[in-house]
Amino acid sequence: MHAKGVIRTLMAGTAAVVAIGIATGTASAQAQAPGPAGTAAGTTVTNTAQASYSVNGVQQSATSNAVNFVVDRKVNLTVTANQPANTPVSIGQTAAVTTFKVTNNTNGTQDFLLSPTQLPIQNLFAGDNFDVENIKIFVDSNGNGTYDAGVDTATYINELGADQSAIVFIVADIPNNQANVLAGVTLIVQVAAGGDAAAQGLPLAVSVGANNDTVVDVVFADNDSDGLGLDVALNGQGRASLGYEITTRNVALTVAKSQLVLSDPINLAIAPKAIPGAVVQYCLIVNNGTVGTPASNVTLSDVIPANTTYVANSISIGALALGQTCLLTGIVGGVPLADDGTITVPVLNFTGSYNANTKTVNATIPTLLGGTSVAATFRVTIN
């Protein structure tokens, strides 16, 4: 095999004698280094070796052939949720937004195609019990990271450079169903061909077939982005998931008002009639009909009727009694409140007040548990 004479090697690392053959331009200045995605796809890497030698004491030089190859496309991407937690929503809310971030780790400029899925992801979204509706996907056009309806309208990521990122929004409506708790949504991102700023590129596919050093082959280098089996490595796709979580619910809140003449100046408390001077008690009963969902900060407000006079410090608030009395009595049932609002019912934190200027009775119930009622009463005298 080594028929042609002796093959020589050199003494590596020997000191000394200055060589000729200083490198040409190709060796100098390591031009600006590429980013983490590496040398751009399509770059031609060319190598040329040089030699110097002497024949009978005469210096000569030689240059090798130039050999080159084309850098291929190493397709990779990262898709992450771009918000710290699920999006809190209320029943029936429209255009609720989840935010994702797509990073192009490919050594070239690519388009990215976006699609949603609501396939339940167990383990990740335990308790996922509904699907959002009217799903749309938009790309953040102005880089503010916030969905601007009518402004962020692109439905795919166009011409995203190597190592660059884009923000993507999933916008969806929450169905009006009180049983809803959590909906998981997943953004699927597919790397597509770049190069046409005016149109969406086709999804990339791995180059197969004959080797060709002079064309840019496509090599998928993306990982399994979810670790759950829905995404797989080396498929040119990435995905990330977020949830819509119902944190605000509408409750069936009703208020019933009743009145009862307590006494009159003639009959006193026995079969009293609504004559001038009679004392009338009004009762407001507020009921939260949505079992399991408390209502927060329920405020009752009632202007006293014309031709009546409010009886000072007559507001009471508490649990509902049966029959005509409206309120239970005692510390548990009805607690008398001061007109100036300085008295708060212990534990339950009910408050109430009377505004003499507007002739308005106010009562506030910080928390009204589902399926329960609270009553508030006040009294007036008929002028």
Partner: protein, 157 residues
């Protein structure tokens, strides 16, 4: 003097487009990549093949072959390979003598002896990433008809 067959036979079969130079020393450059294939015995064989698919981070092997096509011995043979700027030097290819390297294209030596000057004027030990050129020097004259080759490994940035 050391005489020994160098580098796997597969390298000999690589691209051999002769340069246009008419001199007696013919220098041929070629680029190869490793292709891993599972062998029947369960091991992995690494063959060197033409670089059909090379993406950032891949190992690339540069081979410099030389041959004295003339009739007289050639003295002071020095083979110099400036690195394409898209690659970072790693090491000599197994089986090939280590080259002298340079971080500035002027001063050559073993990597441990080289230092790199930073923008602030301080210096630090050179790393393989700093290498811009490699060079081999034949210790003795290259007889007529003799040939050989050197190789080094780099990674595509």
């Amino acid at each position: 003097m050391i005489t020994r067959p160098m580098i796997a036979a597969v390298l000999v079969a690589t691209t051999a487009v002769a340069s246009a130079a008419a001199g007696p020393l013919q220098v041929t450059s070629s680029i190869l990549v490793e292709a891993r294939a599972a062998a029947a015995d369960g091991t992995t064989r690494i063959a060197l093949v033409k670089p059909s698919k090379v993406t950032p981070g891949d190992k690339v092997i540069f081979v410099v072959s030389y041959r004295n096509t003339g009739t007289q011995p050639l003295g002071n043979v020095v083979l110099d390979n400036p690195l394409p700027r898209q690659v970072a030097y790693r090491s000599a290819n197994p089986g090939s003598p280590a080259p002298d390297v340079s971080v500035d294209g002027k001063t050559f030596g073993s990597l441990e002896t080289l230092r790199v000057r930073s923008l602030d004027g301080s210096t630090r030990a050179a790393s393989p990433n700093d290498v811009t050129s490699v060079r081999w020097r034949l210790a003795s004259p290259l007889a007529a008809g003799s040939q050989g080759q050197f190789a080094f490994q780099a990674v595509l940035k």
